[in-house]
């Protein structure tokens, strides 16, 4: 299993994801610098959290035009698995790989805490190790996670079961996102963007007793192994 984690100037969760993928799940993992023009053959690409280009203009707006994004978009449109976490989610939105946009959090605060989430769709490649409607817990850390999409777009997300994760209730929603949305996929299900940080709760030494992020990566890893066996 080969994975690539893109490092933009200002990414700060790239090594966390690298650690989880390579040390816990045994992915052959590369950190990929944003100025590269080409990608090797990967089974999974991750756009990590952080503050690419200082979040200037809008979160993810400038990263979207980094050189590496052309091959990343080609990979995503060719059904490659792409995971965008936090700033990575914002970049996927700015790239139009996922619908909608991010606004500043409703309460104007940078929120950094654990939140409870509901697994709204456990049929995706990224979430099949969770139970349907399971309540899990993951940390969030963002100032612009207030997901917005117009009514028509929202209906399309609901109709196609693209809302993968929701904050468990309105009071649990840290940013004011519509329909308590915390993570969405594209229609085909090969691209997932989410504001919470699964890589920060995937091993006991970092988040004792809270390892709900582990199963997001184990879902991906199991899917790739099964796929590999079919092909091989």
């Amino acid at each position: 299993m080969k994975a690539g984690v893109v490092t933009f100037p200002g990414s700060n969760c790239d090594h966390d994801v690298y650690n989880v993928l390579s040390k816990i799940f045994g992915f052959d993992t590369d950190l990929i610098w944003h100025q590269k023009h080409h990608l090797k053959d990967y089974d999974l690409l991750v756009l990590p959290g952080g503050f690419s280009y200082g979040d200037y203009l809008r979160s993810g707006a400038i990263a979207r035009f980094a050189k590496i994004m052309d091959p990343v978009i080609d990979f995503a449109l060719a059904d490659g698995l792409v995971l965008g976490i936090c700033n990575g989610f914002q970049i996927l939105l700015e790239s139009n790989l996922l619908p909608g946009a991010m606004k500043v959090n409703d309460n104007l605060k940078f929120v950094c805490k654990n939140v409870r989430l509901e697994v709204n769709n456990n049929k995706t490649t990224f979430t099949n190790h969770y139970r349907e409607n399971e309540i899990i817990e993951m940390p969030v850390a963002h100032g612009e996670g207030n997901y917005y999409i117009d009514k028509k777009g929202l209906n399309s997300l609901i109709d196609n079961n693209q809302i993968v994760l929701r904050y468990a209730s309105k009071s649990e929603n840290p940013n004011g996102s519509v329909e308590n949305i915390a993570g969405i996929s594209n229609k085909k299900g090969n691209i997932l963007g989410l504001m919470p940080h699964p890589e920060r709760c995937s091993e006991d030494i970092i988040s004792p007793g809270r390892s709900d992020g582990y199963r997001l990566f184990s879902s991906i890893a199991a899917g790739l192994k099964a796929g590999g066996e079919q092909i091989g």
Binding site: L57, R58, A61, I62, F65, L93, E94, P99, G100, A101, K103, V104, N105, D106, N107, L108, N146, Y148, I149, G176
Partner: protein, 86 residues
Amino acid sequence: MDWEVKIETKLKDGILDPQGKAVKTGLKSLGYENVDSVFVGKYMEIIIKDIPKKEDVSEMVEDMCKKLLANPVIEDYKYELNKMEG
């Protein structure tokens, strides 16, 4: 011909603007009771060099706004173009 471009972006009508709402609260608490609404947007100035025709500058700025400077999903933009002297 050189051009000075002044660009403003703001959230579309009907999309709740958390920053505008907070600023409105601030103005009200200063005693400006007649303040009805506040929208916070962004303002940018760009200098563009060596393009003779205004239409070409306009087309370029439209493109910049759509691709990067504004997010058409949530933001509107407007701009003015001024010829620069000498």
